[in-house]
């Protein structure tokens, strides 16, 4: 009994002293920016992370991150732990625009500025840093219509749990709706692909092509991963000439564009986005106001609240504009041009 009591006392003493030590350490080095990722597994986020770090490190801020593994509940816990560890600002890539709100309120209550990164949140007090996602959808649809002005179209869309899918769709529909209404374009198939999985897109498009007896002229895929799966399905049926869209500027997709297998990808220099978010985070952490942020505009959240936003410009990359990604150092010429017919692609000569 005495031994147990002694052990317990020792234990409590150890805990107290170490937490005192740690909190002293926390006071000493206070410059920290926390990032809560929703699911670091998807292809592009490591580029965003590099962008964020490239601004934080020279400015003397420590980069702390968590990964919610696509679980909204885990993300709540992640944000709370970031708050508890004493960060000066939080950058959140939300898994769910509504479920994240309690965590954001906790951050606001603690006086910690919040940047909503690329995924919309329904919070008027967070700054939304993203690409103009409506423009993403619009550019995608415009490039596709330019390549394939009419016929039967298939929509291969992203995971329905991600609210950004709706914004892409709205942008696409702004271009497509008039054409659908007057009968030029007909949507003959539409599927949301769980997890944006390429193999899921392939299986779905296989079935849609079967249902329509291959009478499909365009596949509006929402990102490059699903575009890859879609292309595998098209190729298996000898439908290589069908117009195909994508997003993110993945290396495999850019190569497909050079080879004439994909029509367009919407390239968002996520390095720049990471940098912009980190700059905004540092500004706000130092006490700056949302209204004074560089490039700030006002937008509306999904429920109609006013929200400050910093929106970067996306670019449509087609065969003719591949030089943009080459010049930015996004992809090497070898990776871009392997297997491409140099005669048809200017940048591969």
């Amino acid at each position: 009994m005495q031994r147990v009591a002694r052990m317990m006392a020792l234990g409590v003493a150890a805990m107290l002293s170490s937490s005192l030590l740690l909190s002293n350490v926390a006071f000493a080095e206070s410059m920290k920016i926390g990032v809560s990722w929703r699911h670091f597994q998807e292809e592009r986020w490591k580029i965003d992370e590099a962008g964020i770090k490239s601004v934080l490190e020279p400015a003397g801020y420590e980069y702390v991150s968590t990964d919610a593994q696509a679980d909204p509940v885990k993300q709540l816990a992640d944000v709370e732990s970031l708050i508890a560890s004493g960060v000066d600002a939080i950058i959140v890539l939300a898994q769910d625009s509504q479920a994240i709100l309690p965590a954001l309120e906790a951050a606001h209550a603690a006086g910690i500025p919040v940047i909503a990164y690329d995924a919309p949140v329904d919070d008027a007090n967070a700054v939304f840093v993203s690409f103009d996602n409506f423009a993403v959808g619009k550019l995608m649809a415009e490039a596709m219509v330019a390549a394939q002005p009419n016929g039967n179209w298939v929509q291969i869309e992203g995971d329905s749990a991600h609210s950004i899918v709706k914004i892409f769709r709205d942008g696409q529909m702004e271009v497509l709706q008039p054409l659908i209404d007057n009968g030029t374009i007909k949507i003959v198939g539409q599927q949301n692909i769980t997890n944006w999985q390429p193999d899921g897109a392939q299986a779905a498009l296989d079935q849609i092509l079967t249902a329509n007896n291959n009478d499909v002229q365009a596949v509006l895929a929402m990102n490059d991963g699903t575009a890859g799966g879609s292309y595998a399905a098209l190729e298996a049926q000898g439908l290589e000439g069908v117009a195909l869209s994508g997003q993110d500027g993945d290396k495999a997709a850019l190569n497909r564009i050079a080879r004439g297998e994909q029509t367009v990808t919407i390239w968002k220099n996520s390095m720049n986005l990471g940098m912009a978010a980190a700059e905004a985070a540092i500004e706000l952490a130092k006490g700056g106001k949302m209204a004074d942020l560089k490039g700030m505009v006002m937008t509306k959240t999904e429920s109609g609240k006013d929200q400050s936003a910093v929106l970067l410009t996306p670019y449509a990359i087609t065969k003719d504009s591949l030089n943009l990604v080459l010049d930015a150092g996004w992809i090497s010429k070898d990776d871009l041009c392997k297997g491409a017919d140099a005669g048809t692609v200017a940048v591969c000569k």
């Binding site: 597994q41 998807e42 490591k46 949301n192 997890n195 999985q197 390429p198 193999d199 249902a211 495999a252």
Partner: protein, 380 residues
């Protein structure tokens, strides 16, 4: 189970205006079943032995990215030997992962649920780390054929040959079985019953080859025949089934599942047996990964996410009891066929994807309920 499958096919045939039963859709269906089917054969044996493997989807993803890297980064992607070297590497990777799982379960004593749950998280994220999340595409042409892409079928003549072989095998086995039962004094069902069963099986095989030959390859407009992944599935199915029913190994597995203590007291090395089962599962994950990444023509780290649920559901629908000791490989393959028919049929009908998963969940429960009720009645 066969009745359920027939009902599903008839139902979808009706709702899709016959498209479901078209040669093209059945061809696609056979390709889609190949991956899950191959892995289900191993999973059935594992579940019979009172183990489970939750990491199969992550293994498929990891091995896929690894194989894609071997093909594009370590070897020239259009080299003539690249394809089979990559396949060998992928199979070896599967065996290695299976061995690791098996060792942790059998020799260290950690429950398989825990080991493979950890494996699920570990290998999915390892797949991401391998190439920093970037999808690797395209892959070697020869490799793609293995996935059924680029006209990866064996053609009509070889398909008929396979069909003929299968028919011969069935006749020979049925005759041999009857003969052996007579010799040992067991009663045989009347000859006309046996003849009817054989006839039904022959009809199924002929129908199978006919349908696959009726589908024309888009590129050459020639009859397709059996796709290579389906040949792989058939070979794997027959081999694993034969092992489980005829070979000593299979008897030991069922003994282990029925009563682990008496099995071990009877002198069977249960730890080695468990290790072998996990190695088999890992190997089959390698095969599944080869087919899936060849079909996708890419190594993507998200490939195979959640596939373990499909594989386990297929095994369970096929009559494998999660308590161990009961199950057949053939049943598991039927279960995979039923699940995939449902998935594919629903997309044909344009059902939104969340609803699809809900329907599959309900079907899983119904199928197992029917199976349990049927078994209870049969016992009485």
């Amino acid at each position: 189970m066969v009745v359920i499958l027939a009902a599903v096919w008839a139902g979808f045939g009706l709702f899709t205006g016959g498209i479901f039963l078209s040669p093209r859709n059945l061809f696609n269906l056979s390709l889609q079943v190949a991956v899950v089917g191959v892995m289900t054969t191993g999973m059935v044996l594992l579940i019979v032995a009172r183990q489970i493997d939750l990491s199969v989807g992550s293994q498929v993803g990891f091995i896929g990215v690894f194989g894609a890297m071997v093909q594009t980064q370590f070897l020239p992607v259009d080299g003539s030997h690249t394809w089979w070297i990559a396949i060998v590497c992928m199979l070896l990777a599967g065996v290695a992962i299976g061995a690791l799982n098996g060792w942790l379960v059998a020799y260290i004593g950690i429950p398989s649920f825990v080991v493979t749950l950890a494996g699920l998280m570990f290998f999915r994220n390892a797949a991401y780390m391998l190439n920093a999340g970037e999808t690797i595409a395209p892959l070697s042409d020869m490799f793609r054929r293995v996935g059924g892409g680029l006209d990866g079928t064996i053609g009509p003549t070889l398909s008929w040959l396979c069909g003929a072989l299968a028919v011969l095998l069935i006749c020979a086995m049925t005759w041999r079985n009857r003969h052996r039962r007579e010799r040992f004094g067991f009663s045989n069902p009347p000859p006309w019953v046996a003849a009817l069963r054989v006839a039904a099986q022959i009809a199924a095989i002929i129908g199978f080859v006919l349908v696959l030959n009726a589908y024309q390859l888009p590129s050459s407009k020639s009859p397709a025949g059996i796709p290579i992944p389906v040949v792989i599935l058939i070979v794997v199915g027959v081999v694993v089934s034969a092992i489980s029913v005829r070979h000593r190994f299979g008897r030991h597995v069922f003994a282990l599942g029925g009563n682990p203590e008496s099995t071990s007291l009877a002198g069977i090395d249960t730890r080695l047996l468990t290790l072998k089962l996990f190695i088999l599962m890992g190997f089959l994950c390698g095969v599944g990964s080869v087919i899936l990444s060849a079909r996708l023509n890419a190594g993507a780290s998200l490939t195979g996410t959640m596939m373990e649920l499909n594989v386990i559901a297929a095994a369970v629908i096929g009559g494998t009891s999660l308590a161990g000791g009961i199950g057949t490989v053939a049943g598991g393959l039927l279960g995979a066929l039923i699940m995939q028919s449902l998935e594919g049929g629903m997309i044909l009908m344009g059902v939104p994807s969340p609803l699809q998963r809900m329907v599959l969940a309900v079907v899983l429960i119904l199928a197992v309920l029917i199976d349990i009720t049927y078994r209870k009645r049969a016992k009485r």
